[in-house]
Symmetry: none
Subunit: 417 residues, 2 copies
Amino acid sequence: MHNQVTAHIITIGDEILYGQILDTNAQWMSQRLDEIGIKVTQRLTIGDVKSEILEAFAYSEKKADIVLITGGLGPTEDDLTKPCLAEYFGVDMETNQQALSEIADMFNRFKLELTPINRLQASLPTNCAMISNSLGTAPGMWFYENNTVFVSMPGVPFEMKEMVSAHILPKLRAQFSLPYIYHKVIRTIGIGESWLADKIKPWADALPKDISLAYLPSLGEVKLRLTISGKESNQEERVSNEIEKLKKYADKFIYGYDNDSIESVVGNMLAKTNKTLATAESCTGGYLAHMITSVPGSSAYFKGSVIAYSNDIKIDQLGVLPETLETYGAVSEETVKEMAEGIRKEFGTTYGMATSGIAGPDGGTPEKPVGTVWIALAGTDGTKTKLLSLAKDRLLNIQASAKATLAMAWQTFNQNS
Amino acid sequence: MHNQVTAHIITIGDEILYGQILDTNAQWMSQRLDEIGIKVTQRLTIGDVKSEILEAFAYSEKKADIVLITGGLGPTEDDLTKPCLAEYFGVDMETNQQALSEIADMFNRFKLELTPINRLQASLPTNCAMISNSLGTAPGMWFYENNTVFVSMPGVPFEMKEMVSAHILPKLRAQFSLPYIYHKVIRTIGIGESWLADKIKPWADALPKDISLAYLPSLGEVKLRLTISGKESNQEERVSNEIEKLKKYADKFIYGYDNDSIESVVGNMLAKTNKTLATAESCTGGYLAHMITSVPGSSAYFKGSVIAYSNDIKIDQLGVLPETLETYGAVSEETVKEMAEGIRKEFGTTYGMATSGIAGPDGGTPEKPVGTVWIALAGTDGTKTKLLSLAKDRLLNIQASAKATLAMAWQTFNQNS
């Protein structure tokens, strides 16, 4: 049995702590470590304060095999990581000749003069191995002390990423005996977390002990993540077998796996069958078309959209009957049906999607409160409609309506296939 | 002199630690606390492991006045926060009647059946004050023990944000004696950070010592934040005076303040002058219309849009001449001009905006690489066009193009006013 190799990630910088910068580095490093079977057990974000930095080093050394540190390596005075590392390990700093020559090369390449402040960046704690930074002037540092690996890297995302991929991951693989680890994410739509949990309980209860299950809900969908780890490799098939069993309980909700999105899955279904699509949007105001066109290559099946915010446009561009708008209103099953059929005809596509609703915060009535949304899908077999009762937040209502429209299309295509 | 009130933020969840989810909550909470003068001194991210959760509670209780906790409140078995809080404080859990009635109301409103698993969400540690969750089924919890405030909130961003704004910030203000702090954000568009810094240097150098300036660049704009803090209140006027002086250097770039967005500022200018707008979008694929319609009340001035992903639609719906497309291509000044003029005429609006470009990742050529985007604004005084040379990322190109189109409109309206 392998011992689980564990890591802490320490992010240093006031600008992160005060919320001025979104820390995307920690997520990226977590993913890379997870992929090679290193378990991140904690992430810490601390400010540019010497005592806090030293305390975090001691805390993480006790609790993890690997401590990855980003930030605080700039040439200015508020960058404390390097002096803190030297103090923590009780060593001096001295100019690292290789680092100096790499920094000089870079300045040379950009025809810039090497200033004393840049020269200081080559000064490193004496107990570290220098890690080349091919995209910047702050070298990385690798320490192995008291059975723990410490790695210090710059906070600039592209410099850090290059350093991790080119140098840190290979060194970690060489240093540690890493376990086998495999994740599979199953993406479901059209059912809430607790209902899904109820429905698949017999399957979840019967999962083998070494396969763990996590629920990851997000707007309009629920992801299930299966994880297997241990010393035996090639366990993908065992996970596949469990997914086959899961399908008996939840097949009609599973639209994809891993990094699939509902817009890319629907797009692929259209592309594969040479079908085309257009949208007619009222309350979603272009967001549905945006989701569809965020998929590279969507121009192969998506012709376009009419966003009809006013009744005139619904009549003139989509052929909605004035009587329909008068009798039933813009937010009605009748109107959304005519919008979907109108755009399908006008743009000459296989399918037409439509949305009409009250996104809020204003415009609600007792009969049609904010969050009342009608969606429709017109196709060769007629037109489907659905009423959504959403919440009070305008942006969430827009996003949820667009996602529900794509979910309706997926369910329809899935039944037909 | 006030004592600095400090906070730790603890994010609980394997899905964050393994990098499957980007933690945007911690940044958002850091910003809100910073705004009311509470200093975040550390952020911790830990997994769904009881011992780690209990240890983090003890660690943060020692080091901060306030401990904000998100995540681990779902109804499923891997959600451990609630039992951990009960164990940490040595109390039992029992059904909170107000929480149960709020959950039941929510299910009622959506005409859903209350399952035993949902009922469990109303079971709370007995020493907490329940915090209503108006957008979800997991209530928040407020504890005050050993001179430390603990707040536990769901990890779903929109539920957490509503809870913090409506309940947590007011309670924190009531509980702690917070310093006077006043931020004013000045929003600029159409100029890069270093050019802006050069331009306003005389003003920045002359700022009073107790007013600090920060640059907050984001996609397509640069925000300047002025902060004044101390024990004297009512310093807003001193900040206003500095902004008046700033205008001498940067007036033509300042489009708004604080939470203004370029889409809301442009919308207000249209509404005030009874002008109307429509958009014709190719590469932005609906995102421009989405930005415009994300503003509540936008139906007063926004008539709609045609998203013309195919050349047929550009010809049929927007009246672009087939010769123009043949001679110059879809991504050209000539085409985008005809698109803007076409939508203005077709939808009968005062202004027409248009975009056409290569968002990527594919479709680039040596003459028109990925990131080549033409934008246009057609109005009563003719049509303006602009060429953008953006980067390689599809989504960023879409967002930057939409923002640049709104910036062009703002500059035009601003000059005319």
